[in-house]
């Protein structure tokens, strides 16, 4: 039995599971609308629109909650990037994923109470939560109320531009989801990280 660290407090786990549910609904309904086909609908169009709107608002609300708790809890320390030597640390982590993991090496940056993310996770999570999510929300809310979108932005339709940005950010977020799900299998055991996000305890390698 390997050692365990309590790294994921209840609010993080609740936020994470809600985030996952909303994200999946947004992904399926978003794809269904973007590639709507009367002959083979992934979801009926009106169901896709309604569920996308509801899940989008849900994601926005829990994102605001996350930001508030981020400010008022110690959780924010895990997202503070130390830029000095960052490139070297990223390379070390990537080298581990590309070569080290096959040689049975130990992770170069194991999860600690003070730093639960490895450098690659940290940079990715910061990019997703503080760049991609705001883009998704800033472009998604106006698409819900398109009458507020300007008709023409330097010769390009405002709605088209907003929709393109939204779809691009959504696509990148879906890539993140797939990679995130796979890398979650690289814990002490295949499913140990999945258990961690349920019970809060991270199993060490």
């Amino acid at each position: 039995m390997s050692a365990k660290l309590y790294l994921y407090p209840i609010w993080v786990r609740v936020w994470h599971v809600l985030n996952a549910v909303f994200f999946l609904v947004l992904l399926v309904s978003g794809l269904s609308m973007q590639y709507s086909n009367p002959d083979v609908p992934l979801l009926p169009f009106n169901v896709a629109v309604t569920s996308h709107n509801v899940a989008g608002l849900g994601l926005f609300i829990i994102y605001l909650c996350f930001l508030i708790l981020f400010v008022f809890t110690s959780n924010r320390k895990h997202y503070k990037i130390e830029f000095k030597g960052l490139f070297g640390r990223l390379m070390t982590q990537m080298r581990y994923y590309i070569f080290g993991v096959f040689k049975g090496e130990k992770p170069p940056f194991p999860a600690l109470e003070e730093a639960k993310f490895n450098p690659l996770q940290q940079v990715t999570y910061v990019a997703v939560l503080f760049v991609l999510y705001p883009i998704l929300i800033i472009t998604g809310l106006p698409l819900m109320f398109p009458e507020f979108i300007i008709d023409d932005f330097f010769g390009i339709g405002g709605t088209l531009l907003t929709a393109l940005l939204h779809a691009t950010a959504g696509f990148l977020a879906s890539l993140f989801l797939v990679i995130h799900l796979y890398f979650a299998t690289m814990g002490a055991r295949f499913f140990s990280n999945y258990k961690s996000i349920v019970n809060g305890y991270h199993e060490l390698h």
Binding site: M33, Y35, N37, P38, V49, T159, L160, I179, Y182, M186
Partner: protein, 315 residues
């Protein structure tokens, strides 16, 4: 002398303005005699019986918006070209209200000048419409097309928002006006917003899509479909517009769809000039790039997973 030279540009502008007005006026018939009363909300006349000047409110159904008249497609016609010459006499004879009005086809039918617009096809489609069938044939062209103010929008390639506004204005002139609706029905028109409450982003749809785009049967041989369907047969399946084979390409955007749609890489690109329809507007290049990227990521992760599993088994 210097002062005279200074005044020269002003004189030139005045002359050009007069010439321009003259050129424009050539296309507009002089209907000022009729508009003295019919262009006003109140009209005045000398009552020979009482020897007084009477001031009366004009019947709103007989009021003509002179500004609209002078920019309409029929601006070159004198009122008496279509109405009886006897209207030149005031007070008008009471019998004149029984005068049979000209219909569109009286001028536009069987005329080679208008052959390309297929007015005969329009008439045939109209006669199949619920308007015509449900009104004991009392419904006529003028009920939608204001003879005194009709302007071309779609054919003139005006912005889609203006095309939609002009077209929907015709429908709402009855369906949102209980007095005009009352000409054909004892019932009051239904609340348009309420009966379309199922439609998401209702205001956006009403500004960007014409009523007839959902409420007619599209025909390729006429520019605007005139076969208004019973409400039960109207389009209410979102994907009929929100898909790559959007029906709007055969109706609202039909005349513009002939423009190159492939150059920008977008499907139904013609819409992008003035709007965006999710599901109908897709970029082929971005589609391929995204599928390729996603495939590469999945492939890379699968290879990584397989190698991991092989190595775990070896150990």
């Amino acid at each position: 002398m210097i002062q005279k030279i200074k005044k020269l540009p002003i004189c030139l502008i005045i002359c050009l303005t007069i010439v321009n007005i003259g050129i424009q006026a050539q296309d507009v018939a002089d209907n000022s005699q009729c508009l003295k009363c019919h262009g006003q909300v109140f009209y005045e006349y000398h009552n020979e019986w009482t020897d007084q000047v009477d001031r009366k409110p004009l019947n709103p159904f007989h009021h003509i918006d002179s500004v609209k008249l002078h920019s309409s497609v029929h601006k070159m016609f004198a009122c008496v070209d279509c109405h009886s010459m006897e209207y030149e006499t005031f007070p008008h004879s009471g019998e004149l209200r029984l005068e049979e009005k000209y219909q569109c086809m009286d001028c536009h039918g069987g005329d080679d000048t208008f052959a390309k617009y297929n007015f005969e096809g329009i008439e045939a489609a109209f006669m199949e419409s619920v308007h015509y069938k449900k009104s004991d044939e009392r419904f006529n062209c003028w009920m939608c097309h204001d003879a005194h103010g009709y302007e071309l929008a779609l054919r003139e390639d005006k912005p889609i928002v203006e095309v939609v506004s002009a077209s929907n204005g015709m429908c709402l002139s009855c369906h949102d006006n209980k007095f005009k609706y009352g000409l054909l029905s004892d019932e009051e028109p239904s609340d348009i917003a309420m009966i379309h409450s199922w439609l998401p982003n209702q205001a956006r749809h009403f500004n960007k899509v014409r009523c007839v785009d959902c409420h007619t049967k599209v025909q390729s041989d006429i520019l605007i479909a005139h076969n208004i369907l019973p409400k039960e047969e109207a389009v209410n399946d979102c994907v009929q517009c929100h898909s790559s084979n959007s029906v709007l390409m055969e109706s609202l955007y039909a005349h513009r769809a002939k423009e190159s749609r492939a150059e920008s890489g977008f499907l139904n690109a013609v819409v992008l000039n003035e709007g965006y329809i999710i599901g109908a507007n897709r970029n082929k290049v971005l589609n391929y790039v995204s599928i390729g990227l996603f495939g590469l990521v999945i492939f890379g992760l699968l290879v990584h997973l397989v190698l991991r599993l092989i190595l775990i088994k070896k150990k």
